[in-house]
């Protein structure tokens, strides 16, 4: 008991308290100047928009994948199911260099998109691709158990009362899935905001254009600008905190729906 709290404090809490202390060390004006610096603001915008679009893509395709894995049977289904977690298990740096190689102008997919004027690597689109990879399992893994729990008798009842399949999906199944679906979206979004390893390689790191917030923190640390680095970190933590609160609320909503 005492040991639990001691270890928690030593490893997690004491280091994290350094953040507000570090951010305050530069004084209020310096803090404000750092977090509203145009280059830093551009990085929030990039981080937030790419994370958002990646989460949207994952929400759409993740829902299809979850549905197919639970409801349909096809050869290799269990193997596919096991591979969903690859982005959790694969080190982010490996994902980063691999995706960059595939989507670079001379890469497997990049070279095929180049003639159409579509550039992926070293653009915000590339950042989005990396974030899709990283967030892929979240929507699938939050929706899967909920779809498994779906009571087919309700579907049968609706069908027997004359509802067409599309109406059953739209009026019976989807409303039941919404809370978990949004939770999966939010988890994928939250993970993408903090992501570093898979993004630095594919982004190209051009200031104002493809520079993500975590990279700016590292840049500032390397220049020994600790106050500046912590200031950006505090803003990022603020964003994650708001999302975390939203996720917790959503999970309570999900559980209430499921009657747990």
């Amino acid at each position: 008991m005492g040991y639990t709290i001691f270890y928690l404090c030593l490893i997690v809490l004491v280091p994290l308290t350094m953040l507000p202390i570090g951010a305050a060390s530069g004084g209020w004006t310096a803090f404000r100047d750092t977090i509203f610096d145009p280059r830093v603001v551009a990085s929030y915008k990039l981080t937030l928009t790419t994370s958002f679009f990646a989460a949207v893509v994952n929400a759409i395709f993740g829902a299809v994948v979850a549905w197919v894995l639970v409801r349909y049977d096809f050869p290799g289904r269990r193997l596919v199911d096991a591979f969903i977690d690859l982005p959790f298990a694969l080190p982010t740096a490996v994902a980063g260099i691999t995706l960059t190689t595939i989507y670079a102008p001379n890469g497997l997919i990049g070279s095929r998109l180049e003639p159409y004027g579509i550039k992926v690597a070293f653009t915000p689109l590339g950042v989005t691709v990396a974030l899709i990879f990283i967030g892929l399992p979240f929507v699938v893994r939050t929706l899967q158990p909920v779809i498994e729990e779906l009571d087919t008798q309700v579907e049968e009842a609706a069908t027997s009362l004359g509802a067409r399949r599309w109406d059953v999906v739209r009026r019976v199944i989807l409303p039941y899935l919404y809370p978990a679906w949004i939770t999966g979206f939010a988890l994928s979004f939250a993970r993408a905001i903090g992501e570093y390893g898979s993004v630095v390689f594919i982004s190209g790191n051009m200031p104002m254009r493809t520079e993500i917030s975590p990279l700016l923190i590292i840049t500032k640390l390397e220049q020994f600008d600790y106050a500046g680095a912590t200031a950006i970190a505090v803003v990022m933590l603020g964003m994650s905190f708001v999302l975390l609160l939203a996720i917790n609320g959503l999970q309570r909503w999900t559980n209430a729906r499921l009657g747990h």
Binding site: A89, A95, Q144, A229
Partner: protein, 296 residues
């Protein structure tokens, strides 16, 4: 019962309504799902190995057997070998405290354990630089006494412990809570000591949950990049872990060697997935996936 409902339903007024999507739509959805996974999962996985062997088997072995790569491999093993047992002991202690006793602030404690997941890896590494770096809080004192933590092995180990901290605890807590305290009480009544109860009753009940947590913790510990890259200083052959070595080789345009080293990490990931799947089947719990999704 379900069948009879359906039979009544197929009264002529509505005709027979299908309980699933039309066959064409099923094929379409399955195709879309598999195509998406092919592009985002299978393709990257294949590319790692294709690039690693792009110059043949000799250069592949050469890249892996390079002294810097071996040093990075060793450091990665050391970091994981310290971080995993440390977090295992904590996970068991935390699970024990949370599941078998009740005390005020229990929910707060559970939330705090998850904190490292909510923080960007870069920030996780940065807090240790702020604490132990030269301009950090304890930095000057450490420097005077010639202790090196940041840009040295201890910092890498600390950052690794931090990022892989919650994995085991969050697997152990629900399993311990579900198993209740009856068996422990029975053991104590029959005269077992506290430790005997723990090792012979509590732990065997937990073994799959613990194993599950340990492999996830280990995968994260070996693969961590962001946090470790902030604290390591990236001194070749000395403070380089495998993922950092991949980065250095890649940035030097030595792609084949970068992918050769990356293929080792990919193998760790594949082994992790295999063991995880096997353990999930042993535990036979549909909720397992849900828990993993929350974990990462």
């Amino acid at each position: 019962m379900a069948g009879s409902v359906h039979r009544i339903a197929s009264a002529p007024a509505h005709g027979r309504r299908p309980l699933t999507e039309p066959r064409a739509l099923r094929w379409l959805l399955t195709g879309v799902a598999l195509a998406f996974l092919l592009f985002f999962l299978a393709l990257p996985l294949g590319v790692v190995f294709v690039e690693a062997f792009s110059k043949g088997f000799g250069p592949y072995l050469e890249a892996i057997a390079h002294p810097d790569a071996m040093a990075a491999l060793k450091l990665t093993f050391i970091a994981a070998a310290i971080a995993v047992p440390a977090n295992l002991v904590f996970g068991l202690a935390a699970g024990w405290a949370i599941a078998k006793f009740s005390f005020p602030g229990k929910n707060l404690l559970i939330t705090l354990i998850d904190l490292p997941f909510a923080v960007s890896p870069v920030i996780s590494g940065m807090v240790f630089v702020l604490l132990f770096g030269r301009q950090g809080w304890l930095g000057p004192w450490l420097f005077d006494h010639d202790y090196r933590i940041v840009f040295a092995v201890p910092g890498i180990v600390l950052a690794t412990i931090f990022v892989s901290f919650p994995f085991i605890a969050r697997e152990v807590i629900p399993v311990m809570e579900a198993s209740g305290t009856e068996e422990e009480e029975a053991a104590r009544v029959l005269g077992a000591s506290g430790w005997q109860t723990f090792f012979r009753v509590t732990l065997p009940n937990l073994k799959w949950g613990v194993l599950y947590g340990v492999i996830l913790c280990n995968a994260r510990a070996m693969g961590e990049f962001g946090a470790v890259s902030v604290v390591s200083g990236k001194i070749r052959g000395r403070t380089n872990t495998l993922p950092l070595h991949v980065e250095i080789l890649y940035n030097e345009y030595n792609f084949q060697a970068a992918f050769a080293v990356a293929s080792l990490l990919t193998l760790v990931a594949l082994v992790t997935l295999i063991i995880k799947t096997l353990v999930e089947r042993r535990m036979a719990r549909p909720a397992g996936n849900e828990r993993l999704a929350e974990a990462a």
